[in-house]
Amino acid sequence: MLALLRLTWLEIKIFVREPMGFFGSVAMPLIAFIALTRVRAPRIPARFAAGAGGGFFDAAFVPVLASMLIVVSTCVSLVTIVSVYREGGILKRLRATPLQPVTILAAHVLAKLLFTLITVSLLVLAGRRYYPLGAEFPVVDFVLALLITTWSLLSMGFLIASLAPTTRVAQPVAALLLYPMVGLSGLFVPVSTYPERIAFMVNPLPMTRGVSLLTGIWHGQGWIAHVGDVGALAFTFVLCTVLSTVFFRWE
């Protein structure tokens, strides 16, 4: 436990020292968000006034999309870091210590969760200031839902990192797997409108469950209504964690 906390704190500090680390993951999305909303602000309210219809016209569309994109880019960055660590022999060196792979996983996930939380919180604050409609939402519940979603998706990223042989493969594979999942997640077009077969495949995916959870919570729905989503996300987390511990490659 001490090792986990120390490693988490260490990875946070190291990440902040990266030239693109803190700036790229925290400041950039914020700047982009403010810039975009400043430009688009006069037109946004009319389009989003439609409320909870799902898709582009849903009031939750922008916040959920922003959240998902942050989570996915965090995921890709996690995959990259783990494969860089492996190629650099850092993991191999750690293997010769009593450290467990699950501790390394947990430390990176915790560090990434923290940065996701900071980024999204800043976005929410910026949104309150710059984004006139849809600013009334259950902040604490939304952040909690986001943490659950992030945790689940990061475990998927870690599984990809455990399986991918090199950084050159890991990064594009992660991007190719994760971004389309966001595309199909029901964020842009509600899953209910999909052909049955595709809906069947897409429904259990953590992206889909995450979008459903985040959108619902944004609209003030209760947790009871989303037990299934949380369950599916938790299941993904357990499954991916177990698999990545089994398949974890130190070198």
Binding site: L2, A3, R6, L7, L10, E11, K13, I14, R17, E18, Y85, G88, G89, I90, K92, R93, R95, A96, T97, P98, L99
Partner: protein, 304 residues
């Protein structure tokens, strides 16, 4: 007392390549034992089997009476490991690495004092990426020693370092042994093997060619000693040839190279020179080295 490390008949195969083939050796408490051989000879694979990072296909290994493959967790707290070409996070600070490594073990030594001993005290706040090659290696030694291990593994410790840094590291390794620890190291540097190791095993193509103290091995395979001298004397060549134990004489102007295998070869040559009242302008002995042994055993130089 049983040997600290016992390796018997281990074999490790990757696909069709046999990396380690029937390797056996024992390492006693408090000695520096070197696995010597060219790159790709199987030294690192052997060492990683002993460390518990790899499982041999055949054979048995005991380290501190534990099986590294099955009892890795119990062993890890009692050994210290430095891996070939290891890296740390680029922007980790020296003191952070030491503190983190210390937190991984139930018991650890004082990190600050360790850094001081390894000459890294003034680099405590430096990022890993800013350290020189020698400093990085010293940091890896520090990490290998942080849990006060009984056995220390050092893989190609001084590769890529300049001679000065190399000598400093040798001193550190001797210091580790002098505190009663057992050291298993690999190197492809014959000078390092000769100067640092109490005993060595020469490995090529995954097999042990010979084992013993460096001087035993040199004696066994290259008993021939050489004296090079400069003498201005008309009949020098004939006189030198008449010395007992001189087996061959080569002449290059007034420079003569004598060689022989007798244990007292050099003394006999000096006695002969004195007896003939020869005026010697230059005198130098060339003792065979492990480099010569390697050449003789394998038919090629270690750097080929």
């Amino acid at each position: 007392m049983p040997p600290v490390i016992q390796v018997s008949s281990i074999r490790k195969q990757y696909g069709r390549t046999i990396a380690v083939d029937d390797v056996s050796f024992d390492v006693e408490q408090g000695e520096i034992f070197g696995l010597i051989g060219p790159n790709g000879a199987g030294k690192t694979t052997t060492m990683e089997c002993v460390e518990g990072l790899r499982r041999p296909d055949r054979g048995t290994i005991r380290v501190l009476a534990l099986d590294p493959a099955r009892q890795a967790r119990r062993l890890q707290t009692r050994i210290g490991v430095q891996l070939q070409q290891a890296q740390l996070q680029k922007r980790i600070k020296v003191k952070e690495a030491v503190a983190f490594w210390a937190s991984l073990y139930p018991d650890s030594v004082d990190g600050d004092r360790l850094l001081e001993r390894l000459g890294l005290a003034d680099k405590r706040d430096a990022w890993f990426m800013t350290l020189s090659g020698g400093q990085k290696q010293r940091l890896f030694i520090a990490l290998a020693l942080i849990n006060d291990p009984e056995v220390v593994f050092l893989d190609e410790l001084t590769t890529g370092l300049d001679p000065q840094a190399r000598r400093a590291i040798w001193e550190l390794v001797r210091g580790i042994r002098d505190r009663g620890k057992t050291v298993l190291l690999t190197t492809h540097l014959m000078e390092e093997a000769e100067r640092l190791c109490d005993r060595i095993a020469i490995i090529e193509h995954g097999r042990v060619l010979d084992m013993g103290t460096p001087s035993e091995i040199v004696q066994r395979h290259c008993a021939e000693q050489t004296v090079i001298l400069v003498v201005e004397h008309e009949d020098a060549e004939a006189m030198l040839r008449s010395f007992p134990c001189v087996e061959s004489v080569q002449r290059d102007g007034s420079r003569y190279t004598l060689s022989g295998r007798h244990a007292d070869f050099v003394t006999r040559v000096i006695q002969g020179l004195a007896a003939h009242r020869m005026h010697v302008e230059e005198f130098r002995t060339v003792a065979p080295t492990l480099e010569d042994v390697f050449l003789r055993l394998t038919g090629h130089s270690i750097r080929d």
